[in-house]
């Protein structure tokens, strides 16, 4: 069984490695500050005993007041998992650092979140629309998207 790690325990480790990044910990969900996400991910990937070397998925969720970007992480070595979340505010150009330098598997997934949800990822090597076409009006998975 993949063991969900207790977020409060992970939060302590993250505080050592990336001070001031953690916002909240609850169950196996860990909320971090959006501007620190890449540092946190790099730490989680390499910290001994954690070693989250596999990025399962990236999801964008539109909660109207803010966008939540959810990272599901797994360690293939220890078979444990963590749900990393971050809240991005602002509907015009919500932006957070890209994690492609950490896990290349984030490449298409971040492009998908950008395309459908309109969250920009700074430092992404090729941030273009992926499922819709260039010039598509708006971002279809946003709750206020009404369609063309």
């Amino acid at each position: 069984m993949t063991k969900p790690l207790l977020a409060s325990e992970v939060a302590k480790r993250v505080e050592e490695g990336v001070p001031g990044a953690v916002e909240q910990a609850q169950g196996d969900h860990l909320w971090v500050r959006p501007e620190r996400i890449r540092e946190v991910c790099r730490f989680l990937q390499s910290a001994p005993g954690l070693e989250f070397n596999y990025l399962v998925s990236i999801t964008g969720v539109d909660y109207i007041e803010y966008f939540e970007v959810v990272y599901h992480l797994v360690s293939l070595r220890y078979n444990h998992s963590l749900v990393l979340k971050t809240r991005v505010y602002g509907r015009e150009e919500p932006t957070l650092p890209s994690v492609v330098p950490v896990w290349q598997g984030a490449d298409y997934q971040e492009r998908e979140v950008y395309d459908l949800m309109g969250v920009r990822f700074e430092g992404h090597p090729n941030l273009k629309r992926i499922l819709t076409w260039e010039g598509f009006p708006g971002h279809p998975l946003r709750k206020d998207h009404l369609g063309a």
């Binding site: 293939l76 078979n79 819709t132």
Partner: protein
């Protein structure tokens, strides 16, 4: 005398027969050698995730059929597992066994399609593909007995499956189990003793394990690179923890290994079905679950080992009758991440083979 030429950009797809649907690759060629590739997605984008936000939880099942349409059962399974996790439903025992049987039959069908089309891509026109389709046809017949459909099953429901298997399903399944190993022997012989296949797949399109892990690759492609990672084993769902089976892995991570991992997985699937048939208890096939579910606000992620890799559903509930957000983690889409590393330096003919060995399904890539 040397010839000087300029690199040329070539479009492969979206109507190319070897792209298995409407996939498009923009390839920069230097002569015959691939310099760079850029995949272009979205020709089959139907907005499944958006459509799911407007349907009741049970109604979304029909949308999942249309993701990976060669193995709709595993899509159903991943989705209902996510709903069960979100709403805290305990499924019926018999239903869980029926789900496993259906999912493993689906896996065999999907791997047969993958192998058949892979041989087609290698230039073995039609004959091996038809051999594979002949056996797949029998699986579709079994599926038709289960739920009346041959492609879009919508067989599973939160709490189990929508109806028990009919009486005549079991003898038909036993006959299939008895005859399939012989057929797989035939297929294995065809694959491992054909010199053309060996020459064109061994050492071609090598994917190192570290690259595969870093690119979030999953399923047979990851295992062919030598990583023993199978959701059915590492995070068992339904009744997989009560069944004995092995996880075949490759050593080199080339096209040959990817093909052989699929072949051995089919044998393991037969093993799983045999045990499930022996263990399946009597009783209801579905727990009592209302049609309109209202899970408490929160989120849940559930994943299964689909024939293509890790298929996951991330559901967010706001307490209403429809999911607030339904994210599909599709293996076909993410398995294409290392495409550039895989293809660079190979020739056009190898590009078709390497691409075929990843086994993608456009319904799932574009969603």
């Amino acid at each position: 005398m040397t010839l000087q030429g300029e690199p040329v950009i070539l479009n492969i797809g979206p109507q190319h027969p070897s792209t298995h649907g409407v996939f498009r690759l923009r390839v920069l060629f230097d002569g015959e050698v691939v310099q760079d590739v850029e995949p272009v997605f979205g020709y089959l984008h139907r907005g499944t995730e958006k459509l799911a936000e407007e349907r009741a939880y049970t109604q979304v099942i029909t949308l999942t059929d249309r993701l990976d349409y060669v193995s709709s059962m595993t899509n159903n399974q991943a989705y209902v597992l996510a709903v069960e996790k979100l709403a805290g439903i305990q499924p019926a025992e018999r239903g869980m066994y029926l789900r496993v049987i259906a999912a493993e039959l689906s896996r065999i069908a999907s791997h047969l399609v993958a192998t058949g089309f892979f041989l087609q891509d290698l230039g073995a026109f039609a004959t091996p593909l038809m051999y594979c389709f002949r056996e797949r046809e029998r699986i579709l017949d079994l599926m038709e007995m289960l739920c009346g459909a041959r492609i879009t099953f919508s067989y599973m429901r939160p709490g189990g499956v929508f109806q028990d298997a009919p009486e005549d399903f079991w003898p038909a399944l036993r006959q299939f189990l008895a005859e399939m190993p012989h057929y797989l022997d035939e297929l294995e012989q065809l694959l491992t003793e054909n010199e053309v296949i060996l020459a064109r797949t061994k050492g071609v399109g090598v994917l190192p394990a570290e690259v595969a892990i870093n690119c979030s690759v999953s399923g047979p492609v990851l295992r062919a690179s030598g990583v023993r990672w199978d959701i059915r084993k590492v995070d068992p769902y339904d009744v997989y923890d009560r069944l004995e089976f092995d996880i075949p892995i490759g050593t080199n991570g080339d096209c040959y290994d990817r093909m052989m991992v699929r072949l051995y997985e089919m044998r393991q699937s037969l093993r799983i079905i045999e045990q499930a048939v022996r263990q399946i208890p009597p009783g209801p096939a579905r727990a009592k679950v209302p049609f309109f579910l209202r899970p408490p606000p929160g989120d849940a992620y559930a994943h299964v080992e689909s024939p293509k890799g890790e298929l996951g559903f991330y559901l967010v509930s706001d307490g209403g009758i429809a999911p607030y957000r339904c994210k599909i983690r599709s293996p076909s889409f993410i398995n294409l991440t290392p495409l550039r590393e895989l293809l660079r330096g190979w020739k056009l003919a190898d590009l078709i083979v390497i691409f075929g060995s990843i086994d993608i399904n456009m319904g799932e890539v574009d969603r």
